[in-house]
């Protein structure tokens, strides 16, 4: 793990999405785990090729939704049955059918907010600096090029070895990413 921190990783550039997916699968088979792929548009297979790890986001959204659900119901119950017990149309103070729509809305609101905020918290955005932008050609990742970056923190990473490995997949270019 004691790698020189001057290097963030090695980045290979590909012309086609299919070659990027193939290269990623190959790298995963070779045992590389700390890597990321960059493409101008979402590629479904890429997710699995990278060895899709389950994120904690669904759990965060579920907890957020449950909080919204209980909070929304509790607020209405507190307001109409405890704080302001007003008789409306002879109905019981605790009239659950009337609470359902707002409970539902609160569930959705809290789940959506925790999805957005949880996503930002987990992926670290907004991120003003990221080493991959040190490679000038990386700007093409938002246009028509596909990149695979194997990071130096990967236990299998070795500057010469990994470069040789990336070269075997016939990329346009392999660049060193400064840290």
């Amino acid at each position: 793990m004691a790698k020189p921190s001057a290097i963030y990783g090695l980045m290979a550039e590909f012309d086609e999405p299919t070659t990027l997916v193939a290269a990623t699968q190959h790298a995963h088979r070779e045992g590389y785990r700390c890597m990321d792929a960059y493409s101008p548009f979402p590629i479904e297979e890429l997710h699995e090729a990278l060895g899709a790890h389950h994120t904690r986001l669904p759990l965060i959204v579920l907890i957020g939704g449950l909080c919204g659900c209980i909070g929304g119901y509790g607020l209405q119950d507190w307001a109409s049955a405890m704080a302001y017990p007003i008789n409306v149309g002879g109905k019981p103070l605790h009239s659950w059918p009337a609470f359902i729509p707002i409970t539902f809305e609160c569930t959705i609101l809290a789940a959506a907010l925790s999805a957005v905020l949880g996503m930002l918290a987990l992926n670290g955005l907004p991120m003003p600096y990221h080493p991959v932008f040190n490679v000038p050609r990386f700007a093409l990742a938002s246009r028509n090029r596909f990149f695979l970056c194997i990071e130096a923190r990967d236990p299998k990473f070795d500057v010469e070895g990994t470069r040789r490995f990336l070269e075997t997949m016939h990329p346009r270019e392999v660049s060193t990413v400064a840290g």
Binding site: E44, E48, P58, G89, G90, K91, P97, A98, I100, P101
Partner: protein, 406 residues
């Protein structure tokens, strides 16, 4: 691409045996059911109405989903198009199977009873709409509209198989736009006539969409089960991918929520209004043992499928999603039972053996006709405007990555 151009009959040889088996079970069930009709004709008709509405729901729900796909597009619908077509082509049989309801309507609908009308002012006012000749004329109009849409969509789909002219697809889209409107209007009135008028004093403006949502859900569940079955054997085992099941599972989740939304909205509106004329329908459904069925529906028709379908893993695993789909078809029967049976047994739950035999019988006959219709055409619509875009890459690549294989 040849296996997709052959008719399903050639590509999937076991369909013929399946059709025979379903029709045999249906015939055996029909004999037993007829025995039941001699023993207790009124009970037979109640159970028949329930079974009929289930089968009609899958037929018309498929028609509606097919039209929605014509307008919206999407990979989910390209793999469903042929099962959808086959399901809609059972409609002529369903039209014939309406006859027992038309013939037995005097035992089902109390508003046909002249003595009752004579003592009931409200029914006298409603007589302008709720009378036997107009009921039959309306039924004829509903079936005419549905059969016309079905006929043209299927005829043009067949034409499209031979001729890749994009104008055929345009024509189908135009018909689908109007057809959806026609389906919606007709099923609204049909649900008022055939189900809501079982309790002629009661009315709910929500009822039409509630039935519509139920039909969409029944059809979605049935189509998912069909696609899972097809995806386990050639040629579709190389075509139907995990992402298709994911999309279909999401759609089924949406329909489960839609059903819950409609059911609850109807209850909320009537509960909030609290008018004597409207609450009766819920009173004998919530203050007798029928309450158990009501709570059961909330738990098993909404909560359980909802939680299961939230899971990505369930939606992407064919062997799991097919179980959810089968479960939904079962609770659909219970939901229809809850809509129909309490009108005849207001004091509490009453289940007859015919409530089990008739859905199985009509279901088997329906499935037999469905398989028969499925056999006659290629299993994929190769000239669908979206075919190349959605399935082309999968066909070129060969077998799609399926988690069950590795």
């Amino acid at each position: 691409m040849s296996p997709y151009r052959e008719t399903a009959d050639v590509a999937i040889p076991e369909l013929a045996g399946l059709q025979r088996r379903f029709l045999l079970i249906g015939a055996a069930g029909a004999v037993v059911s007829l025995l039941g009709a001699f023993l207790n004709l009124t009970q037979f008709l109640q159970s028949y109405l329930m079974a009929y509405m289930l089968c009609l729901g899958v037929t018309l729900g498929s028609l509606a989903l097919g039209m929605v796909h014509q307008l919206s597009g999407g990979a989910w619908g390209v793999v469903l198009r042929r099962p959808i077509g086959a399901a809609t082509r059972v409609l002529p049989v369903m039209t014939l199977l309406f006859l027992p309801i038309a013939l037995g309507m005097h035992r089902l609908y109390s508003w046909t009873n002249a003595d009752l009308i004579a003592h009931d002012e409200l029914l006298q006012h409603k007589h302008l709409y709720l009378n036997t000749p107009f009921f039959l004329v309306r039924a004829a109009i509903y079936f005419l509209v549905w059969n016309t849409i079905t006929y043209f969509l299927n005829a043009w789909s067949l034409e499209q198989d031979r001729n890749p002219d994009p104008r055929i697809a345009r024509r189908m889209q135009h018909l689908s736009a109007g057809g959806l409107l026609g389906y919606g209007l007709m099923i609204t009135f049909a649900s008022f006539d055939w189900l809501m008028s079982l309790e002629p004093h009661w009315f709910s403006t929500m009822y039409g969409v509630l039935i519509m949502g139920g039909q969409g859900l029944s059809a979605m569940a049935f189509l998912i089960a069909t696609v899972v079955w097809l995806s386990r054997r050639p040629p579709l085992d190389r075509i139907v991918a995990t992402s298709h099941f994911h999309d279909l599972g999401n759609l089924m989740l949406a329909f489960v929520m839609l059903w819950a939304y409609f059911s609850f909205s109807q209850y909320l509106i009537i509960w909030a209004g609290n008018l004597p004329l409207e609450i009766g329908w819920y009173l004998h459904r919530s203050h007798t043992s029928w309450r158990l069925v009501a709570v059961g529906l909330i738990v098993f028709h909404f909560a359980v499928p909802f939680v299961l379908l939230l899971s990505r893993a369930v939606k992407r695993e064919p062997s799991l999603i097919v179980k959810v789909a089968a479960w939904i078809l079962i609770v659909r029967v219970v939901d229809l039972f809850w809509l129909i049976a309490p009108e005849f047994h207001q004091t509490g739950i009453s289940v007859s053996w015919l409530d089990v035999v008739l859905p199985l019988t009509l279901g088997s006959i329906w499935l037999g006709c469905f398989v028969w219709q499925l056999r006659g055409r290629p299993i994929l619509p190769v000239h669908d405007p979206e075919f190349e875009e959605t399935l082309g890459p999968i066909i070129e690549r060969g077998a799609p990555p399926r988690p069950s294989h590795g």
